[in-house]
């Protein structure tokens, strides 16, 4: 995964991405026991185009130029299927801006905070998101005050109530 993250860091340096952070199951795995997944979910903030449109196409083009192939909704970067998810709402933009800077081996990277992973899972609400909320509640060290603020700001406090420890 180190090589994959190095490619993402190169894309930030080159201005193809403004910012990225690991989310999804692998983001959760940073805080809880390892969870089976086959995709690396990468949330991204893209530079705004002249027309003001947000599109993944320049990112895909930059990856194609490096000979990384698309496969379904992913791009295979150094052997790992990476799914790029643009920050499409205020919660995701905030989550990316507040993401934690961490080291993976010797490579710097960013991981979404556990409180934002909870909020995103509550917002998305699929069965696997509910399982993720349970895991994060039970195993991650959540900053309760920070979490409450996030949930309140994004209208998710009611969805968290049944999950409160």
């Amino acid at each position: 995964m180190q090589k994959t993250l190095q490619v993402l860091n190169d894309l930030v340096r080159e201005g193809v991405l403004s910012r990225y952070a690991i989310g999804g199951a692998m983001g959760a795995t940073f805080y809880v026991e390892p969870v089976l997944t086959f995709d690396l979910d990468i949330f991204v903030i893209l530079p705004q185009s002249v027309a003001g449109l947000l599109t993944l196409e320049p990112l895909y083009a930059a990856l194609r130029a490096r000979a990384y192939d698309e496969e379904s909704e992913c791009v295979i970067v150094e052997g790992i299927p990476v799914q790029f998810l643009p920050a499409y709402n205020d919660l995701l933009v905030e989550a990316l801006n507040d993401a934690r800077e961490v080291l993976y081996e010797q490579t710097p990277t960013q991981v979404l905070r556990p409180e934002h992973l909870v909020a995103i899972a509550l917002q998305t609400g699929r069965d696997k998101d509910r399982e993720r909320v349970r895991l994060l509640r039970d195993e991650a060290e959540l900053d309760e005050a920070y979490l409450q603020n996030v949930l309140k700001r994004h209208g998710l406090a009611g969805k968290w109530n049944p999950w409160k420890p």
Binding site: M1, Q2, M26, T29, F30, Y31, V32, E33, P34, V35, L36, T37, F38, E71, I76, E78, G79, I80, P81, V102, Y104, E105, V111, E139, A140
Partner: protein, 67 residues
Amino acid sequence: MEPMETLTPEIARLIAAKERRRRKLAALPFAEKVRLVVKLQQMAAPILKARGRSVKVWPLEEGKPVI
């Protein structure tokens, strides 16, 4: 799940041991967890492929132990 106080001591001990293992796994460094995820992928891939789901197992970084 049954409340802990209604379980036999043996079952309660097993559940508590499982809980301790989960917490130990959760506390591992991220890179070690990623290697364990790849091991999970290696275990799950043949089962998923037999069910017709195409999955790609991530490359394991060389020279790194998998616990």
